[in-house]
């Protein structure tokens, strides 16, 4: 029932849309954490991966994630939350690493990072894209983490100190009586020999 012109029109439209996808580049940004656990007072490493799909270079790339990690709750140790790259070539896979230290425990939400870039050097029209987000994370306290993973040496030393009276006191009693008995026995032997 479709007329020929309608079919031809559909074909043109689909070809036109597919062609525009080929010519433009799109920047994919992922945001992940490499930590298994997020612990208060321990390092939290975040990895931003930028991938330029498409055949052209993108210019003036600016990643802004300062709003996700306010300095009141997170301390920035390594890297910057606001990096910029002047150009990212086609097909490049970049990584940017940021190390933070959470100051407080509890549930925390980290949202998307905002990335702006220009598709061409001359066209100053800025394209905005958002990274993936990590979502709600539970920051455990230092004590919880230590309970599972620290080396517990101090705990064992304390345990030994507390358990030692139970062991040392009877041992001391036994040792004293043993010494007395052995002295008596040796005295008896010497007196018997003398006799």
């Amino acid at each position: 029932m479709f007329s020929k012109t309608a079919l031809i029109l559909l074909a043109f439209i689909s070809v036109a849309y597919s062609q525009t996808d080929d010519e433009e580049s799109f920047l994919f940004v992922t945001k992940q954490t490499v930590n298994r656990f997020i612990v208060q007072g321990k390092e939290l490493t975040i990895k931003y991966g930028l991938y330029n799909s498409g055949p052209t270079t993108v210019f003036n790339v600016n990643l802004n994630d300062v709003h996700s990690y306010p300095s009141k709750y997170y301390e920035l140790l390594v890297g910057t939350l606001n990096p910029k790259w002047e150009r990212i070539n086609a097909g490049t896979n970049l990584t940017h690493v940021v190390v933070l230290k959470p100051k407080e425990s509890g549930i925390s939400n980290s949202s998307h990072a905002i990335v702006t870039y220009q598709k061409s050097e001359k066209n100053t029209e800025v394209q905005r894209t958002y990274s993936s987000e990590i979502g709600d994370v539970y920051i455990m306290t230092g004590r919880e983490y230590d309970r599972r993973f620290s080396s517990h040496v101090i705990d064992w030393i304390l345990f030994t100190a507390m358990a030692s009276p139970c062991i040392v006191f009877p041992f001391f009693l036994w040792f004293n009586s043993k010494r007395k008995y052995e002295l008596l026995a040796s005295k008896d032997k010497t007196t018997k020999k003398a006799q």
Binding site: V34, N35, R36, F37, V39, K42, E43, T45, K47, Y48, G49, L77, V78, G79, T80, N82, P83, K84, W85, E86, R87, I88, T92, N93, L94, T95, H96, V97, V98, V99, F149, S151, H152, V153, D155, W156, F159, T160, I167, F171, W174
Partner: protein
Amino acid sequence: MLKKIKISHLKQVISPSIVHIHVDQSLNAKLLSIYIYTSAVVSLIGGSDRHLYKMFRVVLAALTIIALVNGETCESPEFKVVSHSTRDARLTAESAAQLEITVKCKNGKQPGTLYADINGQVIPCAQTPTAPGKYFIGVAANTHKELASGRTKIKLYDDDSYSALRKARTEDATKAVKPFGQVELNHPGVSYGPWLPSEFFAVCTFGLVWWAAYRERSKILG
């Protein structure tokens, strides 16, 4: 007649200056202002006076040469590197490292963009608007073993050497390109925790104590 000559002179003067502006991108504003001024002067004065026009062209050529010579190339750069990598294998599932490079040039200029050669892939370094002169390189690995422990050499390229690198087609040509500098990533390796847990030592100690007591007891009873 006079108006036509002015426009043609303007074109002849401005076209070489445009070529030079592309080469020296960061002195753009200064050069552009100089050229616009001189070309305006030429168009006003040198419309009919050929000698004066020739002199101004020589002056412009001299200006471009001076600009190119005092250009943006950073000579004998000094690198200060702060490298950080994931050390605890129980806290992190994957390894990641980050290098923070501070570049100091003798002539006080910054190299612009730097590119780093990591494991064969040349990627641009990140900069931050709050701290110019600092360049960041991030390296991520899927497993802890993929990030080589010890010192890894990373070659740095600036704009000129990077364009030379891209033009090189053969492997020899890519090796012959002189890098801007070289830095090292120091990864001390990841630790999975102590080799022998403290419980082992506790068990050994208390086992010894028990064994000594059992020996004495069997002597008394036996």
